[in-house]
Each structure stands twice: as structure tokens, then as C-alpha cells.
């Protein structure tokens, strides 16, 4: 055997390992303890599966560009959260271990800080023009909330307690942040149920289900849209939106803030920040603040929320039959919400004049996946008529969906807590 072949890299590694371990033994270091502290010693099948799941999320984001801004931090978070370690380690490591770095970052999720800040950023980048110019489209956003309530009842039937069902239901709103906010309040692993048991920590499964379905909007929605509409309906051309003054936009934000906050005060952390962000943008005199909220701030928070929610999916918390049920319920919720918006648009058309007809394809944008569901309406519409652009119209129910799901979250909090 040639010397070069003998000294291949695996052999060199083994030799190095032997030398280091012998040196350690000679120096009086407990090699056994060292080995016990490594991830290899503590590795379980669940950790391995979750690490593969994290890699899958990263793959989906990189290969198909499905929500990369959230799936990449989340995928890396899943990997970080599932690196096995000795639980009796001298210093706190895990995300659920009080005092660890990850635990400090996770407080932003548990206390509902990150979703509120993300809503601030979303508000600062939202334009209400399409909504104000055609206010009736707001009803499509309201109609799509049917997905939330159907999921709520479905979760109860599957045996989830009331609080956990409320948290799971929000997947139907197709808004990951609202789902995280509600699950951090209702299914956080701390709250006590009426029978004395503690609620399960479902933040991870709910958030991942919500974001995966949001990412899969272009795959899930088109078949339902085609199934529920005729070719003629898909070709409906809508009246172009009128121009909207700055005063009207500011007034909309103020009225929206007051109305929603007075009726569902529990939604204030979300809707208060949402309308605040929008007032920063529309006032025209705080461009710097609006710019920061809609770019740097939202990016920082997206990184933190993604990585911490991902890391919270430790195998022992995530790999349970309940998680499969949550994914199943989320899928049903998404389909019901999409169908709800489309069917309601068709019902509205019965009462509308010919020149004011609504293209039912924009009804599917009533789910709060901004702007993916609006973009899907545009793509499906263009396939029927390449000159019929629906994106501007679809943004109205899309934003109404965000407002609607946040109000629903506030109402559920008020009812259940």
C-alpha cells in the first residue's frame, strides 16, 4: 500500500482523535464526560428527524423560493433547537431552559413582542388605497375568516381543549404572526386548564403549519379557485380603482384603529401597531420612522421570530400525534377560508350592478397571506385573460384579511381567557 493512500483523511482523523484523547487522559481530563456532553452521545431518532425537517425547510426556501425570509431562519432554528446536548450541563443551553441565550430571545415570542413589531412593519408598508377606493371588498376578507371558526370547531372535535383549539384555529387566518401571537397566549405550555392540567406548548407546530401553508398558497389555492368559478367569472373585468387622497388614508387608519380597538381590545398589540405603522407612512412627515419600521426593524424581528420559533420545535415537543392533527386541521382551514372568500364574492355579484361586478378570483385573497394570495389571484386571472390585472383589486381583501384575522384573534382571546 502506498504511503499516500494510507494517510487518507479518515485515517488522519482517527489518528488525531487518538492523539487528542490520549493527551486528554494523560492530563487528567474525564474523556468519558467529554463524550457524554457531545451531541453524538445524546442523539436520538427524533432529533435526527427534526434536523432533516429543518434542512427540508431550507431546501424549500432556496429551491422554490417559498417564503425564504421566514423559512430559512425557521429551518436553521429547527436545526439549532434539535442539536442534542446533556440536559444536566452546567450552563443553560436549551430554549426552554431559563437563563439560556435562546430562552431570552424566545421571550419575544412568549410575550407577543415579535408579532406586534412585525405588524408595525407591515402597517408601514401597507397602502390602503385599493381598500378605500372600493370598501365593499373588505367583506371578502371578513368572509374568509370562516376558515378560523371551522378549524376552531374541528379542533374541539379532535379532542383539543378550548384554549388549544382557539390557538390552532388561527392557522385558518393564514397569518403566521397572528397565529404565533394567539398561541403564545393560549397554548404556551404554562396556562392552566379548568381541570387543573397545563396546556400543551403548541407554538412551534402552529407557527410552522401556518408558515408552510402560507408558503404553499400558490399550490393550494388555484385548484379551489378553478373548481368554484366558471370561465366567464374568471374573466370579469373590474372597475379601475379611483385615486385616494392622503387625508382619506390617514382617516382610514384612525377610524380602523378606534373601531377595532374598542370592539376587540385584546387585538390592540397587533392592530394598534398595524395602524400606527400605517399612520407613520401616510402622515408623510415621518418617512424615516416608516422606512425603518418597514425595512430594518421588520427584518431584524423576522430573523429573531423565525429562528426562535424554529428552535422551539424540539423533538420531544414537536414529534407528537397532535402535530399531525394540527397540520391536517390547518390544511382544511386554509381550503375553507379560500372557498369562503370565493363563494362570498359570487354571492355579492348577485346583488351588484353589471359595471360593479367582482371577479370571484380575488375572494381567495381574503386569507391573510400577504401578498402571496393576492398574487395568486393575479396569476390565475392572467391565465384566463392576459390583459386582466387583478393584483390591485386583490390587495383590498388581502389587507382586510389581515385586519379580520387580528380582530378574530382578539375576540378569541377575549372569549377564552
Amino acid at each position: 500500500m502506498k504511503l499516500k493512500t494510507f494517510f487518507s483523511w479518515p485515517v488522519i482523523l482517527v489518528i488525531l482523535f487518538c492523539v487528542i484523547s490520549q493527551t486528554a487522559i494523560a492530563s487528567g481530563i474525564d474523556v468519558n464526560q467529554l463524550w457524554k456532553n457531545t451531541g453524538f452521545h445524546n442523539l436520538e431518532l427524533g432529533n435526527l428527524l427534526m434536523i432533516l425537517f429543518g434542512i427540508l425547510l431550507i431546501f424549500l426556501a432556496v429551491r422554490f423560493e417559498y417564503k425564504p425570509l421566514i423559512l430559512i431562519p425557521m429551518g436553521v432554528g429547527v436545526i439549532i433547537g434539535n442539536i442534542p446536548f446533556a440536559h444536566e450541563a452546567a450552563f443553560p443551553l436549551g430554549i426552554y431552559k431559563e437563563g439560556s441565550v435562546m430562552n431570552y430571545l424566545y421571550q419575544g415570542v412568549l410575550k407577543g413582542i415579535y408579532p406586534s413589531l412585525i405588524f408595525l412593519g407591515i402597517g408601514a408598508m401597507t397602502d390602503f388605497s385599493s381598500l378605500i377606493s372600493n370598501p365593499k371588498l373588505m367583506l371578502l376578507g371578513a368572509a374568509a375568516q370562516v376558515g378560523i371558526f371551522v378549524t376552531f370547531l374541528g379542533a374541539l372535535v379532535f379532542g383539543f381543549p378550548l384554549q388549544e383549539s382557539g390557538a390552532i384555529a388561527l392557522i385558518g387566518g393564514a397569518d403566521g404572526n397572528t397565529a404565533i401571537f394567539l398561541s403564545s397566549q393560549l397554548a404556551n405550555g404554562f396556562r392552566t386548564l379548568p381541570d387543573g392540567t397545563i396546556v400543551q406548548n403548541l407554538i412551534g407546530p402552529i407557527a410552522i403549519a401556518a408558515y408552510i401553508y402560507m408558503a404553499l398558497v400558490p399550490v393550494i389555492q388555484p385548484p379551489i379557485m378553478k373548481l368554484l368559478t366558471t370561465k366567464k367569472e374568471r374573466r370579469i373585468r373590474m372597475k379601475p380603482p379611483r385615486s385616494v387622497s392622503r387625508f382619506e388614508k390617514i382617516a382610514f387608519s384612525l377610524v380602523g384603529l378606534l373601531l377595532t380597538a374598542f370592539i376587540a381590545p385584546a387585538a390592540l398589540p397587533l392592530l394598534g401597531m398595524f395602524f400606527f405603522g400605517n399612520i407613520l407612512k401616510e402622515s408623510g412627515v415621518t418617512k424615516q420612522l416608516a422606512g425603518t419600521a418597514s425595512t430594518i426593524l421588520i427584518d431584524i424581528v423576522a430573523i429573531l421570530i423565525g429562528v426562535t420559533v424554529g428552535a422551539s420545535t424540539q423533538a420531544d415537543v414537536f414529534l407528537k400525534p397532535q402535530s399531525i392533527l394540527i397540520f391536517f386541521l390547518g390544511f382544511i382551514a386554509f381550503m375553507v377560508a379560500t372557498a369562503g372568500g370565493i363563494i362570498f364574492a359570487k354571492v355579492m355579484n348577485i346583488f351588484l350592478k353589471k359595471e360593479n361586478l367582482i371577479n370571484p378570483l380575488i375572494g381567495s385573497a381574503g386569507v391573510a397571506a400577504v401578498p402571496d394570495s393576492a398574487r395568486t389571484s393575479q396569476i390565475v386571472g392572467l391565465k384566463e385573460d392576459p390583459t386582466n390585472h387583478l393584483l390591485g383589486h386583490a390587495m383590498a381583501p388581502n389587507i382586510a384579511g389581515v385586519i379580520g384575522s387580528a380582530i378574530t384573534a382578539g375576540l378569541l382571546l377575549g372569549f377564552i381567557l
Binding site: V157, G159, A264
Partner: protein, 123 residues
């Protein structure tokens, strides 16, 4: 009903759950519907206020158009026209600037004849 590990129990949907569902959905719907009504009326109120203001200013009734708001298409056409107008103007301006002939009166101070590089002749 029990299917694999999944248990279906429809009796879990008690009165409380129905109340949450029906009241919750109705409130969300009514809330957004009230915003629809408000902003549908808002347009009319705004027009009415503007009309009154103009009446006060001029003292005579002004003929109002049915819809003062320009549509998106009209806005696009106006923007395109303005863009074309301004870009053409810019070209024109540039053209004039570059070919414009500047006449100068003669001055010995800038003449090369009196430049410092001229070598002195001996003799």
C-alpha cells in the same frame, strides 16, 4: 369515533363553543361591514363638504361633475404625458446648451501670444 390514534367527539362542541363561533364570526363581519358603510358614506360626505366650501368662496354655485375623482387610467395617462413632456424638454434644453455659440470679445489677457512659454530670443 376512533380512527387510528384520532378520536372524534362531536359532543365536545358545547354551547359555549357555538356561542364563540357564531358571535365571533358575526362581530368580525359586522365590524368590517361598518367600515364599509362608513367609507362608502365618507366619499359622499367629502364631496358635499367640498361643494359647500366652494360655494362659500365664490358666492356662486359651481357646476360640479358627478365624479371628481380621476380613475387610475386617467392618472396613468396624465403621468405619461407629463413624463414625456419633461423628458423631451430636457433633451431640447441639452441640445440648445451644447450648440449654443458663445461669442467672446478679444482680450490680450488670454492670448497665447503673450504666454509665459514663449522663449526669449537672444541677440
Amino acid at each position: 369515533m376512533n380512527l387510528f390514534f384520532i378520536t372524534f367527539d362531536f359532543s365536545k362542541i358545547d354551547n359555549n363553543a357555538w356561542i364563540i363561533t357564531v358571535v365571533g364570526y358575526t362581530v368580525v363581519f359586522l365590524l368590517l361591514a361598518s367600515m364599509v358603510i362608513l367609507f362608502n358614506q365618507w366619499h359622499r360626505i367629502k364631496d358635499h363638504l367640498a361643494k359647500n366650501q366652494r360655494k362659500k368662496k365664490s358666492g356662486t354655485e359651481i357646476q360640479e361633475k358627478a365624479d371628481k375623482n380621476t380613475s387610475g387610467d386617467e392618472n396613468a395617462a396624465i403621468c405619461t404625458a407629463l413624463y414625456l413632456y419633461f423628458t423631451e424638454l430636457h433633451d431640447e434644453e441639452k441640445y440648445v446648451m451644447t450648440v449654443k455659440k458663445v461669442s467672446k470679445t478679444y482680450s490680450p489677457w488670454s492670448s497665447k501670444i503673450y504666454g509665459v512659454q514663449n522663449s526669449l530670443k537672444n541677440g
